[in-house]
Subunit: 345 residues, 2 copies
Amino acid sequence: MSQSISKTTIEDIARALNITAATVSRALHNHPAIKEATKKIVRETAEKLNYRPNRIASSLRLGRSYIIGVIIPSAEISFFGSVIHGIEKVANINGYNVLIYQSNELYESEKKGVQTFLQSQVDGVLASISKETINLDHYSELKRRGIPLVLFDRASDSLGVSSVVVNDYRGAFDATRHLIEQGCRRIAHIGGQQHVNIFNQRLKGYIDALNVHNIALDDDLIVYGKVSIESGRECMNRLLAGTNVPDGVFAVEDFTALGAMQAIKSAGKKMPEEIALIGFANEAFGEYLTPSLSTVNQQTVVMGEEAAKLFFDIQRKGHSPNGQPQKLVLEPALICRQSSKRFGP
Amino acid sequence: MSQSISKTTIEDIARALNITAATVSRALHNHPAIKEATKKIVRETAEKLNYRPNRIASSLRLGRSYIIGVIIPSAEISFFGSVIHGIEKVANINGYNVLIYQSNELYESEKKGVQTFLQSQVDGVLASISKETINLDHYSELKRRGIPLVLFDRASDSLGVSSVVVNDYRGAFDATRHLIEQGCRRIAHIGGQQHVNIFNQRLKGYIDALNVHNIALDDDLIVYGKVSIESGRECMNRLLAGTNVPDGVFAVEDFTALGAMQAIKSAGKKMPEEIALIGFANEAFGEYLTPSLSTVNQQTVVMGEEAAKLFFDIQRKGHSPNGQPQKLVLEPALICRQSSKRFGP
DNA sequence: CTGAAAGCGCTAACAG
DNA sequence: CTGTTAGCGCTTTCAG
């Protein structure tokens, strides 16, 4: 009991077999220049002595940690939970572990996360930029040090790094068109902070869909919020109090849509008959609301998988796939539920 | 650009100042025996040379990694997302990082997680046991190696380690009593796998609440499912098809409750008038259902924080707080929403 | 096919 | 107050 705390090292195995640590190391890594018989006996005694390789020592020697650092705004958003799921899958297949850092949507915290990862010698960083972040210098430091960085979802082109994003423009376009097809003509948009790329793209998709279908843009039907349930409710109330009350609403994401739904219900309006509603992100709760929430699905797990794969690509081919940063765009899919479906099966 | 990739070490700083690495190390750690002037110049050149301490080297030397390993069934369940949030908070304050491993509710995967953590030389492991896991030997190995283990939520007393759990018995008791107070007399329970401690405790709380209030137990009103939306729906349908149709249902957790709610609605029963319903866990979606779901709140973030604190306690006091494993029981709180509220404000 | 030896970057006696 | 030295556990030339 008491002596078993002491960890066995390759030295211990070597001593037990009257060979050297170098040979043990080679045997355990299945080096071709080692005799089968030796490999066998080494593996057996390793097992018997309950040997566990010390990754830290190995990392120091090799200069790689076999750890990927992941920076997310919050683990409490199910979207990011799914992405992590995808990242983990691919990481584990490649013998990598995943270190998580939550920025809580704060710039300072995000910066600290990068510093921590730098000290932890992670081999790469996958990150989704916080809503508050505008200055991106902390990410450049990774680049300077040759540590691959891959952004997902909340990406930025200005860094010149690879990224995996959803085609937010397309998703927004499709969502808006869907409302038009359902007969809506006064379609409002509740937007997010416009310095966040994805929110800006969604606004553009909304505008273009209206244009393509010859529906005049009404500035009063576009309101900007802070992307939360509260904010969604408040923005919707503003729209309801306006002169041009909408008959359809495209919300920038599902939490905002939820707030809007609550406001619409409180106002005694029928959904989807009087006001149709659609969100974005396919958060878990949307399916179970009454009416169930139409939304745009983003392939979250795939996003995580692809982000991790991009990292491994960069790592293998030595700091860039073909030379330029890759930008992988996942196509979103409309999920049409009760909150917007006026006709059809 | 090209030379900046090479990492600067304390040796580099030492060379630049014509002192030795040991002094640099001491200066950076604010060692009392180092002259202020030296500390100042060291810190400055460290800054100038863009020095980042190499944690891996430090870890190898010190024998501690400053990493906590966390094993959770799935990051896609918001409950665990919140717990991680709590863990991270406390970990960061103490200068620790968090490595995440998802078991996906699989025994083999959980086992692999422990092995990985062992190799990564984590200083401690916080874990929530997967539903599939029965054999706990992989956790004993941590104990043997003197690595503190703290269980949360899905705990087990048989391991003799500290844990943070919710008072599931109490939560279930209160939930059931609440249904009784609302006038229900034929109260059903949709349970989970009984080898999982928390599910078993919830069954007991249900039974005792009925006993205390002199309501006869009807075995036909207890059904066991697999803890999912599907399963909840199916179990509820079985209850609805029975001879003794319940007027109140306590579901083992919220996803099960959600399935039950769908089944009740499909059957055209009024909720809460004909059948009242309450779940457990306070998952994010419950608040937004129609009717909104009554449930039992578990203080998830606090759970994570306390689990992490327990680890640091054990670590500081050298492998046990007072000698015995601590068992921290968080008191749950009833959240009474529309799905069960027949009277009152 | 295996051994000897050096070193990854950092820290902690011990010495002065 | 600072330098010298050794070593954490592992991998990898270079020899043999």
